[in-house]
Symmetry: C2
Subunit: 657 residues, 2 copies
Amino acid sequence: MLPALHRNLFIAVLFCGVSCAMAQNTLQQYQSVNFSKVRIMDNFWRPKLEKVSTVTIPVCIDQTEVKTPRIRNFEIAAGKRKGKFEGIFYDDSDVFKALEAIAYSLKNHPDAALEKKADDWIDLIAAAQLPDGYINTYYTLQFLDKRWTDMSMHEDYNGGHLIEAAVAYFDATGKRKLLDVAIRFADHFDSLFGPGKRDWVTGHQELELALVKLYSNTKQKKYLQLADWLLSERGQKKAVGYTWTDWKDTAYAQDSKPVREQKEITGHAVRAMYMYTGAADVAAHTGDQGYMQAMKTVWEDVVYRNMYITGGIGSSGSNEGFSVDYDLPNENAYCETCASVGMVLWNQRMGMLTGEGKYIDVLEKSLYNGALDGISLAGDKFFYGNVLASNGKQARRDWFGTACCPANIARLIESLGNYIYGYNNNSIWVNLFVGSQTEIGLKNQQVVIQTQTNYPWEGAVGILVSPQKKERFALRVRYPGWVSGEAVPGGLYTYENNKQHSLTLLSINNQPVKYTIENGYLVIDREWAPNDQVSISFPMDIRRVYSRSEVKANVERVALQRGPLIYCVEGTDNDGKALNIVLPKTAQVVTAKQQVLTENVVSLEAEATVLSVMPGGENVQAVKKKIRAVPYYTWNNRGAGQMLVWLPQRILDIKIN
Amino acid sequence: MLPALHRNLFIAVLFCGVSCAMAQNTLQQYQSVNFSKVRIMDNFWRPKLEKVSTVTIPVCIDQTEVKTPRIRNFEIAAGKRKGKFEGIFYDDSDVFKALEAIAYSLKNHPDAALEKKADDWIDLIAAAQLPDGYINTYYTLQFLDKRWTDMSMHEDYNGGHLIEAAVAYFDATGKRKLLDVAIRFADHFDSLFGPGKRDWVTGHQELELALVKLYSNTKQKKYLQLADWLLSERGQKKAVGYTWTDWKDTAYAQDSKPVREQKEITGHAVRAMYMYTGAADVAAHTGDQGYMQAMKTVWEDVVYRNMYITGGIGSSGSNEGFSVDYDLPNENAYCETCASVGMVLWNQRMGMLTGEGKYIDVLEKSLYNGALDGISLAGDKFFYGNVLASNGKQARRDWFGTACCPANIARLIESLGNYIYGYNNNSIWVNLFVGSQTEIGLKNQQVVIQTQTNYPWEGAVGILVSPQKKERFALRVRYPGWVSGEAVPGGLYTYENNKQHSLTLLSINNQPVKYTIENGYLVIDREWAPNDQVSISFPMDIRRVYSRSEVKANVERVALQRGPLIYCVEGTDNDGKALNIVLPKTAQVVTAKQQVLTENVVSLEAEATVLSVMPGGENVQAVKKKIRAVPYYTWNNRGAGQMLVWLPQRILDIKIN
């Protein structure tokens, strides 16, 4: 049966190609332009993509293949060498996630040697797959008879990352060997689990969103149905095994209620983000209003009460996830890098489903702050958690025992192009402001879009909108909350002056133009002509941000924001200390230019009150001093040291060190 | 076979009784007097034992039976009700540990209703045991076919606590139903694992020490051999399964080297303590010098480089265990209560094996500080971790998801009598100074020993040594390190004036007496007569304690100690704050009397430098102020608040809150 099936798939793919992913669906307001069609050219992101291709991915390969036994496990399972499984049961997923990052990188930065390396890995993976489609070195090499008995053991999670890697690698190279492995795995899973077959309540969601990708690639409806069914399994008290998580704590893996009935965010942050991303993907195809309503309510619970100003989520280390509302400690913030990546994924889907800019506002916040902080400027070191205050002990690390974050941030950056533009039949959407070029197929013609900007340092954004011939359609440019005066939707954080500070200037071909503001977008609905040049100037005022008083950690404190970037004070710029700085309400804050390593940034300066210990160590004095703040994502690149995002406006209490 | 075996055992027990535990062995210098022969009568410990009997044990029962499904799981397994397993896989152990505490309590504080409750539980446990001797509700109720496949799943750990409870309950009541269950379990384990049978590298040591208890009770050598074999399995890369722990981190469960080759303390602190206690118990019977040498070296690694001044161990929360040498943070100290209990267990054994007082010095430190802090003065709330500095957020809790600590501290306090006296053929050992009475059988006669003291508040200790007839033997009274001037062995902590502050006065029947000091004991070797009254007066100077400079957290800081007690400053005694106090080197510290709730304690007072925020919140001033310190074990009984053990001697740095 398999060969016939594959033949059919092959034909389907030939005829369908990338456009399959754009198939009409019942709920989406627009479709994101695939990264493979977007060329990024700016001074902010382009070097970061290059760094991931030339530094981060080699680091991931070295760690996966040489420094840890992840590839070795596949070699043993493939019969290429003798030995025992080593590592932990979800290590296979790191191989797949690295392959996914490589796939995106090959599009952005073709590299024959890298492609050869990926092909070699894929050969091993294919050889490690069992005849029935099962693939998991942890079980295969140790106790195959126990496979699929413990729902918390990430067999399906690993499989989900296999599918994501396979679809990405096929899209990047046209090579289908890994895709065939993924299809065999998905069919194996489908043969065991589903309506009328065995139950499966995964301990770590991921397969759902992956199956929708496989559906988009293959057009086989069973994968979409399986994803939907996996979601429907939750909240029914059907979990079995769960040795890896506390059985009692069904909230940990979002299993305490059916997905459609969920109203609050609970448990492990990454699991939650992947689950809702999967639910959004399913809803996009099925039009499921139950998922939609639940996701809107849960999203409000995240953003209104449980999100850091950096867009990071999951404040608690003990469950790698959510605590109680407003519990957002800064020094002990967990804020896993992967959870911020998950925020980008989910909010992208919510944006497409609703057409509302607030989701992209949050996406942008998580991307430029919580996620980007997870990787060093040099691309070779990583944060697993991302604190908002440091006593100087934190440092990015080369790798982790549980190594989910490095390859996750790598694949996110390499696929950044996915998040910039969108389209439907009669509109083009500009979501992120990234110097880049793409071509978008509207109903009647291709339109070239080219963005030029020095964002996020400057607010001027030029957008060339160039149809081949005159046609009327709408250009929808996101009108960021940080411009309109909404620090975040829901009011967890507010700006000191909760109004637009300066006007946004907008012109076309140097002429003023009529526009409306709808759902967080500047909408210019008009007849466009070749080489129309849109100019927008977002005001880059420095914003003082405050928390709701329920956030105990931020009482009488202020954070600084400019554009989408959150700032922090770091010891290295401030005589070695940061936790001794008071920023009075009256202090004026101005911009300055600065280099953080090779990164040219806009930093902030202010006259602050700084406490210092007097000689002898028996008293303390306050002095007025110029302090400097740098973009949060750049901290900890010049050595470990104190850091603080939320600056006290007066001394409430002190602690002697 | 079983009935015959049991008959034999029964006869053996009749003839052997408690004295079996005293059987001659090859290595021990002395044997501890069993708690069941020691009547505690002082004002410090007696009320604590009563509190555990009347408050803590009822709390444990309520939590185990009513508020959580621990007993319910046994009811289901026993076929008394329908339902599914709920909880986590090591929950059975909490039932057993509560039973062990009850057993000791029944000796100290007979209570027919409590004994009836224990008997009911034991009926359930017996009914839940499978015919082949296996007992574990987690596997029995869910997937019995997977039993004994994953060495990290605590099946043997639970079984160890079953054995400890069974031996204790038999000793307390003479009832052998639970003992028979334990023997059947041990025989079941023995039938599967051992030389020539299957390997077993436990993920959580405990069964080893329990099997030695069962050996002492039954005199069946196979249990001793099995304990020895379990130890010998470690460090051979034989661990299988280990889903619950990171396979790669063999150090986590002390499995990276064979026990006899271990030189450093690693990994999970409780696992380590239980393992070395088991190794000491085996060595006591087999004379194994390999274990002895390893334990001495590892003990030095614990005490010289990795122990808090409170006798707590395991500084790191991520592995519930040891970090790198000298990494002893105060605010983030993990210091699990169970690990301090483990320190008491292991050091008791080391003391018996070597006759050296330094082990009992450490035992006393862990007991009066790190362990006792784990339970509230009212006996109804518990700390899992025991920090040495608090920003005010810590609070003892009613119970824990992982509930190892409450019953563990309960069983320790109820069995306190085990740690006071020791004996061999020609010596009596006084290890702890607790107002109490016992009768000790030397070779030729019984000797009544009665201690009277107001320790730890006062240093006067009266010991009545009353043989029936005159006889020469040695009385060995521990000469504490805190008297001799050694804060801890190895110099991790030192006293400001590292000499004896005042002389210890010692007389017999009001006459000066000749004594020697050997291995940390005051030795009076003489002919004793009925009603001889020894009077000792230990100097109760207030000691300033310093850390080695390698302990970064304590640089330029001082801790206060008086007798065995470590002190702390608590906000409630100091205008609501503690983290703003500087205790200059020149500050004089004096004693005062104080009540902490109903506990009469000796507290300390000093003229310190206290920082306070000036009105307006833009500056800080230092004022001289009287501050007060209370015994560490009493903190957090008058509400949450700031607390500090290590006081800065000058302001090195400050942090604004």
